[in-house]
Amino acid sequence: MKPLRPGRIVAFTLLLMGGIVMIMPLLFMLATSLKTSSEVYELHLLPREPTLDNYLEILTRSPFGRWFLVSFSVASLTTASVLFFDSLIGYTLAKFRFRGRTFVFIAIMSTLMIPTEMLVIPWYVMAKSLGWLDTLWGVMFPGMMSGFGVFLMRQFFLGVPDELLDAARMDGLNEFQIFWQVALPLVTPALSALAIFAFLGNWTAFLWPLIVTSSPSLYTVPVGLASLSGEFQTDWEMIMTGSSIATIPTLLVFILLQRNIISGIMLTGLKG
């Protein structure tokens, strides 16, 4: 143990104060959601008589439960698809030798240069002509595969030794079985990082769900919250309650998966 120097203590205290400032807005959001409307504009943080009335009211007055279901379905289905296809593509590009491999890799990587904002208008036109507007599939189809995931998975599959795959070939496994049973279990850290990114990315997505949905029964949580808050106008305790409901699940996920999330970001930051 090194002796504590005064500089260290000052740094620690400042960091702690900064950290408290960082979560202050979230604390105010949660505290206000537990306040009665008469107490909302008072400066003290903690509610005198905490109540869950706002939560009950918002859950009966709006289809928040339904929005959760939509967000959850969209995020988990697209995540499953991204995990499967991006790892299959990444594996193929890392471990197979065939003419056109570099071209395919560059082509898929070049899609990372195309901003979503440029695609939403053609997607909308496409969804309109195919009857996908205002459907669950309409919300999901743009996110079924991602160039970023292909890059990440390929990087990891490059590190899987060829001898292992050849041994599996000797044992008579077909190529899909080799991918599924031999290679995939070796890259689980990358898979969990990709799963977290894909899920959170879809959970918080706003622009495309806002464009493609029009009936409230198909809103995702962010879109539903935006429309609800617009309706509530000045009922700030209700808006804070809606914001809390939208935020609490991600906070829980963070508490559960903190280590994976942070190491996932570190991983991609170093590989990128």
Partner: protein
């Protein structure tokens, strides 16, 4: 397939695995991207016929003072936000890296806002900025006897007021990236420098900063891209999501959204997306250049 050579069999399997993905990327990425270019040369309201108009949309853009204001706003978000957020996150990460007690807790505090939905954050901050007696900030100001501020209602203050939560929410991600970069620097470098009698500022200047360059470049680009594409916060923090007051906070993406989905002006909206594409492309080229130049 048993009659094929190993190389042939590999190629067949590869194309089987890639068939569906290639169809997907062609139909949902490449074709729409080309369509965006083609739409930018057309006039179309989604209902009537789609008409080719050459560069008319771009000419209209160049002559539109609102477009220039939107572009100026977009770069104001970038030029104000980038230095502040990188400086803050580096400062926190640099000190956090040296703290052992409570490291995980502190990191969690800084990281939490990054995970929350921008829509929820936007409404929380919108509430903070309201006039007294509603808004938290103005209530505090009046406690300390400081003049009330208009924040989101002022053409001058509104854009920085929206930028604050944008910086706040991105900080956690940047800190984690910097921490990863700092951890990758071998401890022996620091120890050698200390033995040679180098002080903290010198170690920071000659070891930490140069070795952290890749993290800086990565964050420079990702943060810039994030700021240039700002939308969720502005949409949720301005009245009616209109980028007001008087377009003072309207960024390029909100302008695209309004042109396309409020005015059904698909051609003009697409021309603006092409501008966004070109800006982001130049940024990516800059990144490649910076990374190639690194020692």
């Amino acid at each position: 397939m048993s009659g094929l050579t190993i190389a042939r069999r590999q190629a067949v399997w590869a194309w089987i695995f890639l068939a569906l993905p290639l169809a997907y990327f062609s139909l949902v990425r490449f074709w729409p991207a080309l369509d965006a270019f083609s739409l930018s040369l057309s006039k179309w309201n989604l209902v009537g016929p789609r008409r080719y108009v050459g560069l008319a949309n771009y000419e209209r853009m160049a002559a539109d003072p609102v477009f220039w204001q939107v572009l100026a706003n977009t770069f104001e978000y970038l030029l104000l936000g980038l230095p502040v957020s990188l400086a803050l996150s580096f400062l926190v990460a640099y000190h956090l890296d040296r703290v052992q007690t409570g490291h995980g807790l502190l990191r969690a505090l800084y990281f939490l806002p990054h995970l929350t939905t921008a829509t929820a954050l936007a409404w929380v901050w919108r509430w903070f900025y309201q006039p007294a007696p509603v808004g938290l900030f103005n209530n505090w100001l009046s406690v300390f006897g400081i003049a009330q501020q208009p924040f989101l209602r002022s053409t001058f203050q509104a854009l920085p007021a929206i930028l604050v939560p944008a910086i706040w929410a991105a900080l956690g991600f940047q800190i984690v990236i910097f921490l990863a970069g700092l951890k990758a620097i071998p401890r022996s470098y620091y120890e050698a420098a200390e033995i040679d009698g180098a002080g903290s500022p010198q170690i920071l200047r000659e070891i930490t900063l140069p070795l952290l360059l890749p993290s800086f470049v990565f964050l420079l680009i990702t943060t810039s891209i994030g700021l240039l594409r700002i939308f969720d916060l502005v949409y949720n923090m301005t009245a009616g999501g209109d980028g007001g007051p008087l377009n003072a906070t309207k960024p390029l993406v909100l302008s695209i959204y309004q042109s396309a989905f409020a005015r059904m002006d698909m051609g003009y909206a697409s021309a603006q997306t092409v501008v966004l594409f070109v800006i982001l492309l130049l940024l990516s080229l800059l990144q490649m250049r910076l990374l190639r130049a690194r020692p």
